[in-house]
Point group: C2
Chain length 386, copies 2
C-alpha cells in the first residue's frame, strides 16, 4: 500500500563512476565509533541527551570545541562566541534568516558552492559575484564590487566564501590575500561568512589559518562542521563568530522553543570526541583521501590532452579541470556519461551566465583510487575526441 521512500540522498547509478557527489566515502564513515559513543553516552547521561538541550548547544561539545580550536588555531572562542548548528547549511540558513534582511546584497565568490547559493536565494537575498582565480578570491574584484554598490547607494551585508580547500575548485585563498581580506572587511564593516567545512581534510601539512582566527572579533562568522570529518547524517556543526551574531542565533525563537540544535547528535559526538577517537579518525581520513586525490591527479596528468588545466588541491574533496578554449563541459557530459563517468559542469558554480562553461568539477571523495584512475582515463579520451 505504501511506497518505500528513499533513505539516503545519493542515487547510485549502475556502471557509472559518478564524480558529481561531494559526499564522504561510505566505507570511511565511523559506524563503530558512533555506536560505541552512543551507547556509552546514553548509559551515563541519557536523560541529559534526550531532554531539551541548552539553547547554545550541548555544553560538553561546546567545551571540547573551544579547547580544540584554541589548540589548533591559536585562538579560543569566548563562551559567547560559539554555537552548535545542524551543519553548515543550517548555519548559513540561520544567518540568512536572523542576521541578514530580505533583499540585502550578499557578495559571493565566483565560482562558489552552488547549493549555498540556493540557500541564500531562498530568503531572498540578492547575490553579487566576486571573481576568484587560482589564488582564491580576487581582492581587487572585491573592492570593485563594494565600490560599485556604493555608487548605487548600497552596502553589501556580507561576503560568503570557502577560502580553504574550495568547493568547487580545491584552491585555498593565499596567505597574502587572507591578511588583506580581513583588514578590508574590518574597515568596510563587512561580515565575512567563512564556510570552513573542509579544514580538517588537509593532505600536505597544516591547513591555512581560518579567516576567523586572523580577524578582529565580529568580522568573521566561521562555519565548521562534522559532516566531512565524522558523518553528514548527524546534521551537526558549529559556528564561531562575534558575540552579537552568535547571540542573535542563540536567542532566536526557534531555540527558545526547541532548545539547542541537533542535541542528541551533539551529545553522541561530544562522547566520541572526549574519548580521543576524533583525532585518530581524522588522521585515518587524511591518509585515505590523500591517496584518492593523488590517484586522480596523477591519472589526469597522464590522460588529459594538452590544453587542459587541473587544480592542485591541498585538501578537501574537489579537483577543478579547465578545458581547452572552445570546449563546453555541458556538451561533454553526455558523452562522458556514455563511457561511464560523470561530473558537474563548471557553469553550475557561477552566478553569472556564460562563465565556467569550459570547466568541470571532479569530486574524488566517494571513489577508490582505482575507480578514479579509470575515470581520468575515460575523461581524457572523451576530451581528446574533440
Amino acid at each position: 500500500m505504501i511506497d518505500i521512500l528513499p533513505t539516503i540522498q545519493m542515487v547510485r547509478r549502475a556502471g557509472m563512476i559518478d564524480l558529481t557527489w561531494g559526499h564522504p566515502a561510505t566505507e570511511l564513515l565511523p559506524v563503530e565509533e558512533i555506536s560505541r559513543a552512543a551507547a556509552a553516552m546514553l548509559d551515563r547521561a541519557g536523560i541529559e541527551a534526550l531532554t531539551y538541550g541548552a539553547d547554545q548547544g550541548a555544553g560538553p561539545l561546546l567545551d571540547w570545541l573551544r579547547t580544540r580550536i584554541a589548540r589548533t588555531e591559536g585562538r579560543a572562542p569566548a563562551a559567547g562566541e560559539i554555537v552548535i548548528t545542524a551543519g553548515n547549511s543550517d548555519a548559513l540558513e540561520q544567518i540568512c534568516a536572523l542576521w541578514a534582511h530580505p533583499g540585502d546584497v550578499v557578495l559571493v565568490e565566483s565560482p562558489t558552492y552552488h547549493l549555498a547559493v540556493r540557500i541564500m536565494r531562498d530568503h531572498p537575498l540578492e547575490l553579487a559575484p566576486v571573481v576568484a582565480d587560482e589564488f582564491g578570491l580576487r581582492i581587487d574584484a572585491l573592492e570593485a564590487a563594494i565600490a560599485s554598490l556604493r555608487r548605487a547607494g548600497r552596502r553589501p551585508r556580507m561576503l560568503y566564501l570557502v577560502p580553504t580547500f574550495h568547493n568547487p575548485t580545491g584552491v585555498s585563498l593565499s596567505p597574502e590575500r587572507r591578511a588583506v581580506l580581513v583588514e578590508l572587511a574590518a574597515a568596510e564593516d563587512l561580515l565575512i561568512v567563512e564556510d570552513d567545512v573542509y579544514r580538517e581534510l588537509t593532505y600536505d601539512g597544516p591547513a591555512p589559518p581560518s579567516l576567523w582566527s586572523m580577524a578582529p572579533p565580529g568580522v568573521v562568522a566561521r562555519m565548521g562542521s562534522f559532516a566531512k570529518v565524522l558523518a553528514p547524517g548527524l546534521r551537526l556543526g558549529w559556528l564561531t563568530g562575534g558575540a552579537a551574531l552568535v547571540g542573535r542565533l542563540v536567542s532566536s525563537g526557534l531555540r527558545d522553543s526547541g532548545g539547542g540544535t541537533s542535541h542528541f547528535a551533539a551529545m553522541v559526538v561530544a562522547e566520541l570526541c572526549a574519548s580521543g577517537r576524533f583525532e585518530e579518525h581524522v588522521a585515518r581520513l587524511r591518509v585515505a583521501y590523500r591517496a584518492r586525490r593523488d590517484a586522480l591527479l596523477s591519472a589526469l596528468a597522464i590522460h588529459l590532452p594538452p590544453g587542459c588545466r587541473v587544480s592542485m588541491p591541498a585538501g578537501g574533496y574537489f579537483v577543478w579541470v579547465t578545458l581547452p578554449a572552445g570546449l563546453d563541459a555541458a556538451e561533454l557530459l553526455p558523452r562522458a556519461e556514455a563511457t561511464g563517468v560523470s561530473f558537474l559542469p563548471g557553469a553550475r558554480f557561477h552566478l553569472e551566465g556564460g562563465r565556467g562553461t569550459n570547466a568541470l568539477r571532479l569530486a574524488f571523495s566517494l571513489h577508490t583510487p582505482e575507480e578514479l584512475a579509470e575515470a581520468a582515463q575515460k575523461l581524457g579520451e572523451v576530451i581528446g575526441e574533440n
Copy 2:
C-alpha cells in the same frame, strides 16, 4: 581555562516546585529504548544513517508514519504530503521562511503558545490575534479578523493554532468548530498551521480528529513531533500537508545542500518504532501523565478559593487557572515563588497587552502527583491571602 557551558535548557531551582516548564518528565524519557534502537540500527544500517539523508527525510520513518497515521487518523498522507522536520519549532520556522513572505499577516489564536509567537516574529511576520474561549478558537472572531483585514486590502497568509490539548489552556477545539473552521479556511484559501504536538498524550479516550484529517488537501499543514512522546533532544518531528507546501520545504536549498533534517535521529526512531516499542511507550506516558493531571486538578479543586476557574484538559501538559476578577497573576508570582511554587502568568500567552493578566498556566508534566498536590495547596493559600 574553559567555562563549563550548560548541557540542558531547563534550570532547576532548588526548593521550587516549578510549573513553568512544558518539558517531559525526565524519568519518563525512554533512555533504554533509544539506546537499544541506536545499537540495532547502526549495526544493521549504520552507513545509511551516517551519510546524507534523503531530502524529504529518512524513508523508513516516513513509511512508518504514513502507515500509522492512516491507521490512527483514517487518512493516509500521500508520498508527497509528508516531510520529516526537526520538531514543531523547526517546522514552523521553515514555513515562515519558505512559504510565508516577510510582512505577511498571520492570524494567531489568543492565548497561544508564546514561543511560536517568537518564531513567527523572527521572520518577521505581522501577527493578528483571534480570541479563543473554553471551546477553543472563536469562529466569529476569526471571521471578524478576516473581514477587518479585507477592509484594509489585506489577506491573512495563515492561521496558527494548537487545537488539541492547547498550550497554554489545555482546551481542545470543539468538534463543531473544527468542522466549520476547515470549511471556512478552504473557502478563504487560508492555510491552517495546526500545531499538533500533544495529540498522543490523551487521557480520557481518543483525541479529537486533527484538522488535517478533516480538511481538503492543501488547507492544513499539521505539525507533529516526537518531542513529547519520545524525547525533545532528538529534535525530530514531521509535517503532513498539501503537496505544494511539502514540496517547497523538501526542495529548499537547505535540504538540497544538507540532506534530510535530523537524519541520524530519524533512523534511530524508525528502528524504535518498527520494533513496536513506540505504542507501549505512549501507553505508559498516558497512564503517568493522567495521574499527574488528576492529582493537580483534584488538589486545585480542594485548595483554590472561590471565584477561581480551572480548565479541564483531556490531554497534554497544561492547566489554565483564571483568578477572581481584580487579581493579577504577575503580582501573585513573587509571593507564590516565596512559598516554593512557580508558574507562568497568563499575559505571556497573549499578543494583546492587558489580556490574560488574571490567568496563569500550570505545567504538570515535570512533577510527581505529590509535588503537584503540594503546589496546588500553596497556590491556594497565596491566592486566598488577597
